[in-house]
Point group: C2
Chain length 326, copies 2
């Protein structure tokens, strides 16, 4: 029986890079693809950026590959993270040989808390002058993230991870986050290094090799992983996984890139690397490695898209990846 | 009558770089210096990191030069920002010729909201599992920041500024911030470009020349200015001003650097550049320019401290700056 993978292209270059990634998945395995819709175009047509049907389909699937949504991004991706029960957003950020990078030695994985912090989103308009947002931190969500982090470093044969927070200012909430994460790691015999969020931003630019697995609250993970994207040469290379207990959603970190959408020139690497993470999730480790190696090989000396200084189109790059699969 | 400048060395390398900056101030003007205490050492001795006397002295002064505090940093600097009535934290981040930088073309000024956001600091422990923090955004504080930003770009002969926010997630609070800032700028005929906080982190690494004056909520300003510090070669070069209506506090962005404290090897540039901002604030524009030019000249081809790859001490660098004053 073949696994069911939901495919949501979304808007903009999502419609170009997701088909590219699907063709790579088709080349390495036997999957059943189920198309679903979300984003600006669906909203325009139906009034809803995320139809209930899409939500349900994603919630019931084994895995979902998502492209990007435009103006409606938050209305689409935040509920979809909930649909798969995701508690961690896994964001590898590494530089590739052959790709110009501000910091070519960057090789990081961000493990971003994916349910709370400022994203819990309780906001109030208290007066004409004043609005508030309730930032939420629980020990249970922090512990769950930490347990995942401990397993992750164990699998990778690493000794420990870095914990990013701003507990010198957010003493109670980020203090709770830090304490919960450090306690779980201590019990598991995993080393931790605490780094303040602002200090991390400076230090990662000066020397990214100081860090490897970086455990963060939600917004810190959002911003710092995007910072790392800048260090490795742009968002066109970064895949991500929204992981839940038995379902997951995979998406390139980039957006819809309206400036180049529809021209067939988008870099499919991030989407294809997201598909590789999806293969890992479904238990196809060899196939995942096969895809990653092919992408790396193309990045090193194959055709490249404009964001990487080349003039190849999405299709040419995708064909090169397919050609270099084992 | 000479202006009264409060001087707080604080802890660690604060005790080395602040005297260096004071000697530069003495060389260019006739000021009355009033020493005050704050930080870990005072807390150890008296139980209080920020004695009421220090708070009052700072509140009553024309300007304060502050070094750094250790573990007690937040207990010292946050109330001191209140003491001077500071509503904006001005953080220039530029690369200097002669100093190795990840992005040598960086030349940015962050205007960071200095009173609210997550720093308003209302936190609650609601249960054994759950803590919350109330993030506060007011139209009045946002407008005040925007008015300052409009005057600032006008003085600098620039056309506009960038507004950083995360209003796609924090719709009500950062939405309020964005709307207030953009409205004030529109009325003043100042151009604005909106940039999402995460996108800013990527884009500033890829090409910092896209930005120049960056207006941010409190935590965004904290993290993104530290990111810019990484791009220009480290915290040793960044001065800052906490500006209020008629009082202000100046501090290097760096901390106490416990690893090198007491050895006389700290880079005094950030503290001396903070003193230059203080001179500007007191109306000594020519003297400020004189100091900045001397620091730049030393950074270009003078003795340099270890953080910049040299082996000179704090004193040697300071003497070189003094020698190169007009
Ligand atoms: C679109 C937005 C809501 C989202 C986020 O902030 O999480 C995006 O920036 C991301 O990182 O996937
Ligand atoms: C010490 C800390 C409270 C402070 C802040 O977060 O504002 C520091 O990081 C800074 O930027 O001056």
């Amino acid at each position: 029986m073949s696994e069911e993978i939901v495919v949501i292209e979304g808007d903009g270059i999502g419609r170009e890079v997701v088909p590219a990634a699907v063709s790579v998945l088709e080349a390495v395995g036997d999957f059943e693809f189920v198309a679903a819709e979300a984003g600006d175009a669906v909203k325009e047509a139906t009034g809803e950026a995320l139809p209930q049907e899409t939500y349900d389909t994603v919630a019931d699937a084994d895995a979902t590959l998502f492209g990007a949504a435009g103006e409606t991004a938050a209305d689409v991706i935040l509920p979809l993270r909930t649909a798969v029960g995701s508690f961690v957003n896994v964001r590898p950020a590494r530089a590739y040989p052959g790709v110009e990078a501000v910091r070519p030695e960057t090789d990081l994985v961000f493990l971003r808390e994916n349910t709370e912090g400022v994203y819990a989103g309780h906001e109030d308009r208290l007066s004409d002058d004043l609005s508030t947002l309730t930032r939420v931190v629980t020990t249970s969500a922090s512990e769950r993230l930490a347990e995942y982090a401990c397993e992750y470093v164990d699998e990778q044969g690493k000794k420990g991870f870095q914990v990013v927070h701003k507990a010198n200012v957010m003493r109670e909430t980020d203090g709770r986050f830090r304490d919960a994460v450090v306690d779980v790691a201590d019990e598991a015999g995993v080393e931790t290094e605490e780094v303040l969020m602002d200090a991390f931003a400076t230090r990662v630019c000066l020397d990214p090799t100081q860090f490897d697995v970086v455990v963060c609250p939600n917004l810190a993970g959002d911003v710092l992983s995007d910072l790392a994207a800048g260090l490795v040469g742009g968002l066109g290379l970064l895949p991500s996984a929204n992981v839940g207990p038995d379902n997951a959603l995979f998406e390139p970190v980039h957006g819809t890139a309206p400036d180049i959408a529809g021209e067939g020139v988008a870099n499919p690497s991030a989407a294809i690397l997201s598909a590789a993470m999806l293969l890992d999730h479904l238990g196809y480790g060899d196939e995942a490695e096969n895809v990653r190696t092919a992408v790396e090989s193309v990045l090193e000396d194959g055709p490249r898209t404009a964001d990487l200084g080349g003039d190849a189109g999405t299709e040419e790059v995708t064909t090169a990846v397919l050609d270099r699969l084992d």
